[in-house]
């Protein structure tokens, strides 16, 4: 049997209710109703849905998240990603085509949670047609 650290994977078609916490990565292809928390990375796949807070070092969203996201290192919302909730991170990347509705809070590099940028965003939606660039990257202010 495999003995190294193995990710937790919520397969497509699986609906999980409750708190999902893991020291290793969590990958969601199905749906989760509740808290998702990892000491490493959380990946919300293309057709995945998460209804609840998400906390990890890095969070990658290609599916749908309705809830607060706290990514201590980096949050990346991919073109197919939809986030409806407040986000808090040190490094934020929102790709063209992604949808984000909520308030963003940028943490300092020390990770203390001190706010250096805060903006209310009723809805940010970027599409490839509107933008020449394929990606939009918002860098942490130094």
């Amino acid at each position: 049997m495999k003995e190294e650290e193995v990710s937790t994977i919520v397969g497509s078609g699986v609906h999980l209710t409750g708190t999902l916490k893991d020291q290793s990565d969590i990958v969601v292809h199905g749906s989760v109703e509740g808290e998702v928390s990892s000491e490493q990375n959380v990946i919300v796949g293309d057709n995945a849905k998460v209804k609840g807070p998400v906390t990890a070092q890095t969070v990658s969203v290609s599916g749908e998240v309705k809830g607060t996201i706290t990514a201590h290192d980096k949050l990346e919302i991919h073109p197919s990603g939809q986030v409806d909730g407040n986000i808090k991170t040190k490094d934020l990347i929102i790709h063209s085509g992604a949808r984000f509705t909520g308030k963003s809070e940028m943490m300092t590099s020390g990770g203390s949670g001190e706010t250096v940028l805060e903006e209310e965003s009723p809805e940010i939606e970027k599409s490839a047609e509107e933008e020449d660039k394929t990606d939009i990257e918002i860098e942490d202010e130094k």
Binding site: M1, K2, T8, I9, G11, S12, V14, H15, D22, H29
Partner: protein
């Protein structure tokens, strides 16, 4: 004292394999007391006899099912012994999960590991009111069945065909509607492959409660040990198992695994 419990041979190939193991043991100078299961004496009865004779090292020689049966007996009676029992294994199946887990290349290497008697503590699974297992407990159905899995602080209700629970209570399930492809993905993960299939779910837990919409058999190495509903527990570092030298070095380097001891030193 080394007390060997050989599985009952079913074929001439089994008998040849047993002879080969005994030759290795003799060459290595670790021939202890040898017993072989038969219709008259099961492997569990033989292991129990060995413990009553005062053996502190019981070695199971045979298939993973045989090894599981011996381990389960030892864990069941160990509490009343007031002494630690170390288990050695000589897996004889070419596709043995135990061989894979202990990274043993073959019979000779397994016998050489026994001589050094360096052991580590491995997690065991315990199926409530049924048995312990060192490899995996499984549920397989030909058609998808609604199963509720409650683990720690969450639950999943899903239609599945295959559920595999490993002894560290990491577990994986899959709804194999169309073909066996998905289950092969699942088992490839067992042997160290990548579980890239989106339909495969993998979780970790301390306790797993399994309830089915119908009663389902739970098997360990192909043997039905209980039926749903049932609860499976993780027993951390519950089994002392002899491992080979390089595995021993790996274990020492891994603080999480820890608890590795050299009885010869």
């Amino acid at each position: 004292m080394y007390y060997y419990v050989f599985e009952q041979p079913k074929t001439s190939a089994d008998r040849k394999a047993h002879t080969k193991v005994k030759e290795h043991l003799e060459d290595l100078g670790i021939m202890g007391e040898i017993s072989t299961a038969s219709p008259a004496r099961t492997a569990e009865e033989l292991a129990d006899m060995g413990l009553k004779k005062g053996a502190n090292t019981i070695i199971a020689v045979g298939s993973d099912r045989h090894i599981n049966n011996v381990v389960s007996l030892i864990k069941t009676v160990e509490r009343g012994l007031n002494r630690d029992v170390v288990v050695g294994v000589v897996p004889l199946d070419g596709t043995s999960a135990m061989r894979e887990r202990l990274r043993l290349s073959g019979v000779l290497e397994a016998c050489e590991a026994l001589k050094k008697r360096q052991y580590t503590a491995l997690d065991l699974g315990y199926i409530e009111s049924a048995s312990y297992f060192i490899t995996s407990a499984e549920i397989h159905t030909s058609t998808p069945v609604e199963i509720t899995l409650r683990a720690d602080r969450w639950e999943v209700i899903n239609h599945i065909t295959d559920l595999v629970v490993f002894s560290d209570l990491s577990f994986s399930f899959y709804n194999n509607l169309a073909s066996k492809k998905g289950f092969h993905k699942l088992t490839s993960w067992l042997w160290g492959g990548e579980a890239s299939e989106n339909q495969v779910s993998i979780f970790h837990a301390r306790t797993l409660q399994i309830t089915g919409s119908v009663v389902l058999p739970v098997t360990v190495e192909g043997e039905v040990v209980t039926k749903t509903p049932t609860v499976i527990y993780r027993m951390p570092k519950a089994l002392k198992v002899i491992i080979k030298r390089d595995r021993f070095v790996d274990e020492q380097a891994n603080k999480d695994e820890g608890q590795t001891t050299n009885m010869l030193s």
